[in-house]
């Protein structure tokens, strides 16, 4: 291989041509696929029992209203079946040493109490499990068993026992004809040698209960956008029937509140979260689609419909779907204690009128934040984080997916909020930069 002067190599520096991808959301999956498609081995580490990330829980995607699970599922199976990808789900990176071209990684494989190679995903175990707990995947609106598959398309389709809630009745073990269940299973630590690392740890939704004025956590009919996604999802806890938590009634007048936990210097989230406007518009459109009679209003500061097809979608939401847009941030939400309706205060900036509006359901559209585990991973990998908690990148233009440590790349929301296409693109980009390093190992 011929290289320019910049690339004089120290012998033995580039030892491994395997890659590690941390995070099995859509960005991490894409990065893994694009590295694996070049013929390199990829370890894809995901801390939850299944890959798929946030996208798996979303109902529809903007701006085309494609059903999220439908477009994600092929990717899930592509990743799972790829000969060059080894899935390490329910696992976390514990230690990392080394440098670009030669990292040594220790990974804790948390005990699932179900042997991955024996479980066929038939689900008989969950049927007999007597324990029901609120399901994380359903935003705790729905329930799961103590032995569970997080969602129907979970990949790998392997059950996991949640030992915190398991009552050790052993019914599942008795039912499992394949003998896959093992209560004695212990965490395992595996060691890997990789040449490049891609961090794709995603995001967490801002906890909007820190805005008491908006009533989330206090009023039942104030829900967040992720809960809404599950409520309108056919595979969700209500089989896609949008209802009010307080009384199970179908809401007829829904308000969406934007810019909560985003663009707020007082709550440590000064940046714009990029996706909330559009997912808000999308959810509003879906509300009208679920019930064309329903009145739907979005309260916003600026509608940031900046991506491909976004402005057109925003326009369509106004004109064809009849979503009502009010420019103005909501000052206060108050519950009518009788009806459990919500009354909001907002100034319509376009008319300078202060309006008191009654809704029977309010959906708060929270901004994104770095996920809880990012700090740990940053520490393990010695990556720098910005004040806002996201990973720092080396250069905006020449190294937009490179972290401050050579050989470690970032994509998806690890270095800032992104929508799906931008996450996927960054995943491919991180893969590209990672494989440049991996290819040097081939040079020997």
């Amino acid at each position: 291989m011929t290289q320019s002067m910049d690339y004089v190599e120290t012998p033995k520096k580039y030892v491994s041509d395997n890659a590690l991808v941390i995070g099995g959301g859509v960005a991490g999956m894409q990065a893994a696929l694009d590295i694996a498609n070049q013929g390199y081995k990829v370890y894809l580490v995901e801390k939850t029992p299944s890959i798929g990330g946030r996208m798996a829980a979303i109902d529809k995607t903007f701006p085309t209203l494609d059903c999220s699970a439908c477009i994600l599922t092929p990717k899930l199976s592509e990743v799972a079946r790829h000969p060059n990808i080894e899935l390490l789900t329910y696992s976390e990176v514990e230690k990392a040493t080394g440098h670009e071209g030669n990292f040594t990684i220790k990974i804790r494989r948390k005990a699932r109490y179900v042997h991955e190679d024996k479980c066929s995903g038939c689900g008989e175990c969950a049927q007999v499990c007597p324990v029901e707990v609120p399901a994380e995947f359903e935003e705790k609106i729905g329930f799961r068993k103590a032995i569970y598959l997080p969602f129907p398309q979970a990949t790998p389709a392997v059950y996991t026992i949640d030992m915190d809630t398991c009552i050790n009745c052993k019914r599942c073990a008795k039912t499992c004809t394949r003998g896959a269940i093992d209560y004695e299973m212990k965490d395992k630590v595996v060691q890997l040698n990789v040449g490049a690392i891609v961090v794709a740890t995603g995001y967490k939704l801002f906890d909007v209960s820190v805005y008491p004025r908006l009533g989330y956590g206090r009023y039942q009919n104030v829900i967040n956008a992720m809960e809404y996604e599950r409520l309108i999802n056919a595979a969700g806890p209500t089989h896609g029937h949008l209802i009010r938590i307080s009384d199970g009634k179908t809401p007829k007048d829904i308000g969406f509140i934007q810019c909560v936990g985003a663009r707020d210097v007082n709550k440590g989230v000064p940046y714009c979260s990029r996706v909330c406007c559009m997912y808000g518009v999308k959810n509003a459109v879906m509300a009208r689609e679920h019930d064309p009679e329903a009145k739907v209003t979005i309260y916003y500061a600026d509608i940031r419909a900046f991506g491909k097809g976004f402005e057109e979608f925003y326009e369509m939401a106004k004109t064809r779907f009849g979503v009502n847009f009010v420019k103005g941030r909501v000052g206060e939400v108050v519950e009518d204690s009788e009806t459990k309706d919500l009354i909001i205060e907002v100034e319509d900036i376009n008319t300078a009128q202060l309006e008191e509006v009654r809704h029977d359901l309010l959906v708060i559209c929270p901004g994104l934040q770095p996920p809880d585990g990012l700090e740990t991973i940053a520490k393990v990998l010695k990556l720098e984080q910005s004040e806002d908690g996201y990973l720092d990148i080396e250069d905006t233009f020449s190294a937009p997916v490179t972290t401050t440590i050579p050989g470690v790349f970032t994509c998806g929301c690890a270095d800032g909020p992104k929508d799906i296409p931008d996450s996927v693109t960054a995943g491919s980009a991180a893969a590209m930069r990672a494989t440049i390093i991996l290819s040097k190992a081939g040079a020997k």
Binding site: T64, L65, D66, E289, R320, F321
Partner: protein, 148 residues
Amino acid sequence: MMTEAKATIVTENDWEPRIVAYCCNWCSYAGADLAGTSRIQYPPNARILRVNCTGRIKPEFILAALDMGADGVLVSGCHPGDCHYTSGNLKARARWALMEQVIEQAGVNPKRVRLQWASASEAQIFADGVRALVEQVKELGPIVREWK
């Protein structure tokens, strides 16, 4: 090609036009997909057949459909100049004029067939096209009355 129409003749009141719609894969079929994802509602009378390009559509396909009892035929493709295969739709357009004459000679009102251009992003145009043809055909009545 001209097989006898096997369709049962139905009474005036129940009658709903039956439309065969040939759509190219790259523009109009995608446009119809977008109409779906955008939840644009249009009459359910058309049955879409996917072909790679409108250039693939033989005049016989249209004649056969009418012959077998279709009340209308829609051909929908990429805008001229935008063909995924560069120029297939231009051939389709060139054949169209001739085709209309043939249909007329066979005693069928050429208003029963419609050629339209709808790109992958023009879901509304696609849906409007279906609606327009359905309404047109409803005015003309069932095809069995005119086919010679």
